[in-house]
Symmetry: C2
Subunit: 251 residues, 2 copies
């Protein structure tokens, strides 16, 4: 079954990568066509995942990474004592699952916040491709570097900013990432709940809500539930770059 499927879909997949609107993001370096061919061959078609469905769950054997084509995903992990952490959100063009590299099983779960569509890449074959071609390896190294930096940024946000600044930071980050995928950087649709945002930036949902209204009152945003419009990107950015809190960090 699988074999037949692969044969039938080989051509389709190849076209998919070559023509995919995400290609500049997913495969940003100018790669020769032969290369696209190689990559296309190992991509596995994935059925779309419904809202609240999972791409993978924490603890499952680590087998695939995914490139997100459409929709948004939240990355959560649950500690032994049952506390749920939101590690981050993924937008179209992101590679999902790399955080589990080097562990035998997924260290977190990837949950669809709305119906999503993805490409799947078996990790074994990706590794094989990496050892065949150093460009691919370097690409994964780069991706890993990004992943790591993302974590650092998230950590620093927790250290440095007060509630309003953290939310501003989150919004700026999100706007930038959406812009990279060609969407508006001022009209955001935040498909995640206030609680998820709070779990990500380390605030109680009530505080998230209050911060939204304060930013709105200050004229920086227009907030309508999950729809958020950034009215004054410059001032929002300034808020992020300023550090009001924590004398002990300054010095």
């Amino acid at each position: 079954m699988v074999g037949e499927l692969k044969v039938i879909q080989g051509g389709r997949e190849e076209r998919r990568c070559a023509q995919c609107s995400l290609r500049p993001i997913c495969l940003p370096e100018s790669l020769p066509d032969s290369y696209i061919h190689e990559i296309s061959k190992i991509i596995k078609t994935q059925p779309p995942v419904a809202k609240n469905g999972s791409l993978y769950r924490q603890g499952e054997a680590f087998a695939m990474v995914y490139a997100l084509r459409a929709g948004t995903v939240k990355n959560v992990s649950v500690s032994e004592d049952g506390i749920e952490y939101v590690n981050g959100f993924h937008f179209p063009g992101d590679l999902i699952g790399l955080e589990s590299l080097g562990h035998g099983s997924y260290t977190s779960s990837a949950i669809a916040l709305e119906r999503i569509s993805v490409c799947g890449v078996p990790i074994k074959q990706l590794e094989a491709l990496c050892s065949e071609d150093s460009r691919m390896m370097r690409r994964i190294f780069d991706e890993f570097g990004k992943e790591f930096s993302g974590g650092e940024v998230a950590r620093k946000r927790l250290l440095r900013h007060d509630a309003e600044e953290r939310l501003a930071d989150f919004l700026v980050e999100t706007a930038k990432r959406l812009e990279n995928t060609g969407r508006s950087s001022t009209d955001l649709y935040l498909s995640m709940s206030r609680r998820d945002i709070g779990r990500y930036i380390g605030l109680a949902p009530e505080t998230v809500s209050r911060s939204f209204t304060r930013l709105e009152d200050a004229g920086l945003l227009r907030v309508e539930g999950k729809r958020v419009q950034i009215l004054d990107p410059r001032r929002l950015l300034r808020l992020v770059e300023t550090t009001s809190s924590l004398r002990s960090l300054k010095d």
Copy 2:
């Protein structure tokens, strides 16, 4: 010049890796001797670095990663507005510099907290070795996975714990890592300042100090400046595993 140096030092370095006390940590998988040979060849001798000296500085071209042989290192980065972040500490056996992978230049600085000795590995040659041998690549993937998990752990510590728990968490983490290098897991020498600890776990130095005394009063520790003795590892661990704070995370 380089060529000659390599020839002369080839034998010396090779012995060094084969006999190094850190070998089980640095090269944990049972690798054939031919492999040790390959790795030994690309290792560059490094002069020891004095206290407060740097292995590399933020912004320099990313050229080498280092294996720490002796001493401790703090990893710091400075944001544009001059705030210093402590991203973590390194102990013997750690690979240092991987966090800059995928960026052209070092994203942080590595500062010696005491006189240190290291092995240097040119990143270009490491990459070359990776693309020649998939075992080495997987080893780096693993190391990166560890690096990433470390960041996640640090992030979760900030989200979840109150001051005392964060300090306990830091101590448990440090004890565990020291234990892995064969040192005592109960008698710690913390070469970093209270301020550095605070910057790492997100507390003012005063709060770090107060938390130390509270843990001491509770009979969990014996604190004498930088010398910390863990008297009751079990209770300390329980403190870490418990989550007193943040109802909003629990649910």
